[in-house]
Symmetry: C2
Subunit: 168 residues, 2 copies
């Protein structure tokens, strides 16, 4: 039996929303406003959770996969197989400078589509990207690639993830 | 295209595990051991997150559904459609006293299958049930039923959820 996927997607999105709001609420509790340091703590907590989830997921996904040819081959796997499993769509565009930097563009990023496209939400966007950055970093780490992963939004709900692979 | 569902299931399970461990870690931080009050706070936080996720999910699931005939009809919907969307299987057994109490038995509860079946894990089981209890309560609440939802494990990974509908 093939499930529609709609409510499953929703399950991940709702759960992610709850985590984000919980982590920010707990960091803020008792304080008036959050400062940059508070926000950095939240981003780091969410990134860490994403990292572990990404590690676990890629382990299942690559269990029966042949080994990868090269770094680009790994990145393509992340853009297609990994992204589809998590976000139900492939990355729209992958670019690289062939020196270890990759830009993955998702024109309709699932975790942003629930946010409105107003300017005040654009400012909020980074808090909804930390978990996913961690997830990509965790997945890559499990395949043996250390990386730094960041993300930026210019026009909602489009999102660019930048992966910089750390050479030994 | 029909996805296998394996990694999607895993996504929810891994995310749930991260939430549970985060909530317990933050409550414990700085203390030596957790007391019953600390544990109650954790259960309540997880239950609340589940409640909101359940509300959101049932809203999507019932959007195109005809209205329900009666209370039993609602419970059957939870056991079949709702459970399948969240846990990829139906409830194995539904019992009721026809006075507002329902027992839903899942013989292979997804959020317990990753735990080992040793006795020390049986003691840990309650912390993996709070979120799901909240989710059922949230779903029912959105259909107009106030309820108290508890869960117990006797033999892993089998689990019984008890729903007591609150009459006005």
């Amino acid at each position: 039996m093939c499930s529609s996927g709609m409510a499953d997607e929703a399950l991940f999105e709702f759960l992610h929303m709850e985590i984000v709001s919980h982590v920010y609420k707990e960091q803020q509790s008792g304080k008036g406003e959050m400062d940059n340091k508070d926000r950095a703590v939240c981003v780091s907590v969410l990134e860490g959770m994403g990292f572990r989830v990404g590690q676990g997921l890629i382990e299942r996904l690559t269990r029966d996969s042949p080994s990868f040819k090269d770094e680009l081959d790994i990145m393509k796997f992340i853009c297609k197989d990994f992204w589809t499993k998590v976000f139900r769509r492939q990355i729209d565009n992958l670019r690289t400078n062939h020196q270890g930097t990759y830009v993955l563009q998702d024109n309709k990023f699932a975790l942003l589509t629930q946010l409105s496209s107003g300017k005040q939400y654009l400012e909020q966007a980074p808090k909804y990207l930390a978990f996913s950055c961690g997830m990509v970093r965790g997945a890559l780490s499990n395949i043996g690639l250390d990386s730094v992963v960041t993300a930026e939004v210019s026009v909602m709900p489009s999102c660019k993830f930048q992966v910089v692979v750390q050479k030994l």
